[in-house]
Subunit: 166 residues, 2 copies
């Protein structure tokens, strides 16, 4: 008998679906996101900002449109996101050459420093979240989740929260 079975011993199959992998995934996933949001807020960042910083760090110099397309974000929302990072001096808009319609995005020095702090936050978060599992089990979990992600055609490193909700 598992923990997630024990609480609803008397109900039928329909209610029991809450003990399935899909509900646990949504539940624990939302918990993970909430805890990360708390930690990243201490750097005065929102989670989507941290995700964008990381994407720029990994693949710098693309146009705003290119990043927005990769993330699945509507342009107007993406502009707001970049505005916040640029106002804090973490990201730089460099006018396109020769096509002056586009802006290539780059991390500033401060932005690269921020990425290192985000990395530290991420590692602390990972450890706190997986405290119940040993190293072998964590690897097992990563493997199972990665296989689901691949089969569901999720893009590595891109959180679905960037996509429109409708």
């Amino acid at each position: 008998m598992q923990w997630y079975d024990s609480v609803v011993p008397e109900v039928g199959n329909s209610e029991r679906s809450w003990g399935g992998a899909s509900f646990l995934l949504a539940q624990v996933g939302a918990h993970a996101a909430a805890r990360f949001k708390e930690r990243i807020a201490e750097l005065d960042l929102a989670a989507p900002q941290a995700g964008l910083l990381r994407m720029i760090a990994v693949t710098p110099g693309l146009s705003q449109q290119a990043y927005a397309t990769r993330l699945g974000t509507p342009p107007s929302r993406f502009v707001t996101l970049v505005d916040g990072l640029e106002a804090r001096g973490l990201v730089e808009r460099r006018r396109g050459e020769p096509d002056r319609r586009l802006y290539a995005l780059h991390l500033t020095e401060a932005g690269q420093q921020m990425m290192r702090r985000i990395g530290a936050v991420g590692r602390a978060h990972e450890n706190a979240l997986c405290e119940a599992l040993n190293d072998t089990e964590r690897a097992q979990l990563r493997d199972l989740l990665a296989r689901i992600a691949e089969q569901q055609e999720l893009t590595a490193g891109v959180h679905p929260g960037y996509r429109p909700r409708s």
Copy 2:
């Protein structure tokens, strides 16, 4: 080399934290929630409504306050949630006896029928989401997630989305 490693081969440790279990959990968890939202929308329900219906099905007859406390939801939001379900004839408010300040919540006949349809949706959702895994692996995944949930002190069957965001 895993799928989630292969995409960012050249970057440092800070950016690599996106391949950790915690990011995969948030990512796949958000995906699971989004897919469930789509499916449940075909029954003209929002996900939080389905979760509340299920809680009432499992433990009927409590006061609104009791449910709201269990879910961690502010009273005003809870009222809105119940209003929607009552207007559709899925949930019934029964005036408290003898304390006429409370309303005990029960599923109507239509509400119980709806729970069966939700159960079918949930099973289809589970199968689609876990298509990449065989039965043994699904059990493994449930076990790992349930251990994290327990250590993180999550309440079984209660999605963190009911809690205030601040």
